[in-house]
């Protein structure tokens, strides 16, 4: 697969898998407004995923559509980070993940708007405004829960502690990003870390929470080495399409 297709797939898989996780909250969130909020955030992400997977298929040039890539690849072919595939946990875990991911994605898309690749620049320019709302949503909840009751504080802290081992991987990058960044096409994730840390640490401090210090970190998801959770997620996401190939309504 051309590196440009791999890059588009990495960005697209992050959005696709997280949108599926957020969809799991619909009818199960703490309030109906949150069902709607998390559903809407998932909808924005699936829109981004559709554009990115379609582009990955075009660049690859083997005739694979967005649906082929979403529904007919196996676990080892998915290039998302582990952060987006881990189970939702309680609302605190989900909000901690939203904070980590939306701040990362906002920084990424802000830079990718200036990509030398017109399609990636277009997708990023469209998505950056949506993701700013996702970030605001997560920040508001971290502040409210962290600086709330004893129980909400405890669970928000526990959410951060659960999610933080998966954070470093967001900023890894390899020769795919390096070679494309040299052409002005991609953004090197390592360059996003400073701004991300400053932004997230300020929110954590204001929410009276502690910065987690994880003792291990995830690796290898971009190369297809995933946690057990992704296989279970894909089984649910893909089974209808695979059971009824070509079905439409």
């Amino acid at each position: 697969m051309p590196v440009l297709a791999t890059y588009a797939l990495r960005l697209g898989d992050d959005a696709l898998v997280l949108s599926h996780r957020l969809g799991e909250w619909i009818s199960a969130a703490p309030a109906i407004e949150e069902d709607i909020a998390l559903g809407n955030i998932g909808l924005d992400l699936i829109g981004q995923a559709r554009a990115l997977l379609t582009y990955a298929g075009e660049v690859e040039g083997r005739g694979r559509s967005e649906d082929d890539l979403a529904y007919l690849r196996d676990e080892r072919d998915f290039a998302n980070v582990a952060l987006v595939e881990i189970p939702n946990g309680d609302f605190g875990v989900t909000i901690a993940r939203q904070l980590a991911f939306s701040v990362y994605q906002l920084g990424l898309y802000e830079r990718l708007q200036g990509s030398a690749d017109a399609t990636l620049a277009g997708v990023a320019g469209k998505a950056v405004k949506e993701v700013a709302y996702h970030r605001d949503h997560a920040v508001q909840w971290v502040l409210r829960l962290g600086d709330g009751t004893e129980e909400s504080h405890r669970r928000m802290q526990s959410g951060l502690d659960t999610v933080w081992p998966y954070v470093d991987e967001l900023f890894d990058g390899d020769e795919v990003e390096q070679s494309l960044a040299a052409q002005g096409v991609a953004v090197e994730p390592a360059g996003l870390r400073g701004e991300w840390s400053a932004s997230v640490e300020a929110v954590i401090a204001e929410a009276t929470l502690d910065q987690p210090t994880p003792r291990w970190r995830s690796r290898g998801s971009r190369q297809g080495i995933h946690t057990e959770s992704l296989g279970l997620l894909l089984a649910e996401m893909q089974h209808l399409h695979r059971s009824h190939p070509g079905a439409s309504w």
């Binding site: 909020a37 809407n40 955030i41 909808l43 554009a51 277009g122 469209k126 405004k129 709302y133």
Partner: protein, 165 residues
């Protein structure tokens, strides 16, 4: 360019497409909303329509494509090609003044005008029912991707606000 040769057929085709309603906010046409970017008719008579989504995941885009095609075919245009573009990205500034007035009459608080400076001020939103500015945001995310949910403290009515992006 062949502007002179094509402008008249293009204007006629555009008039057909411009009145197609938005499926989720049917009081607005896709032209009011700024979703309709361009209509051209090539020398062979095929119509090329360019549209853009309000949000990346807007689920109305498939319906809009079908409705545009149906409207043109009903008007006698057999060959229709619809292209979706993301760039330049849609913002609420693409919505027409007429569109904003229709939204308000429909009970949806329209988005504010173009932001003047780099500082985004959190201005209050006027209640579309009673005109009060004593309103509060309940949720940034509403019944569709483009709207947030508000409630009026004066008349106690909940209402949708078409949020600025």
């Amino acid at each position: 360019m062949t502007v002179v040769a094509t402008s008249r057929p293009a204007a006629a085709a555009r008039a057909v497409v411009a009145v197609v309603p938005d499926p989720e906010v049917p009081v607005l046409t896709i032209d009011d909303l700024g979703v309709l970017r361009d209509v051209e008719v090539d020398p062979g008579g095929a119509v090329h329509v360019t549209i853009t989504p309000t949000y990346s995941g807007c689920p109305a885009m498939d319906v809009i494509r079908d409705d545009v095609r149906a409207a043109l075919q009903h008007a006698g245009y057999d060959r229709v090609e619809i292209t979706t573009v993301l760039s330049p990205a849609w913002t609420t500034d693409w919505m027409s003044a007429a569109g904003k007035a229709k939204l308000l009459a429909y009970g949806i608080a329209p988005p504010p005008g173009a932001r003047a400076g780099p500082v985004t001020l959190a201005l209050s939103v006027r209640c579309p029912q009673c005109d009060s500015l004593d309103t509060r945001e309940v949720s940034r995310f509403g019944s569709t991707a483009c709207k947030s949910l508000w409630v009026c403290s004066a008349c106690a009515e909940p209402f949708d606000h078409f949020k600025a992006i």
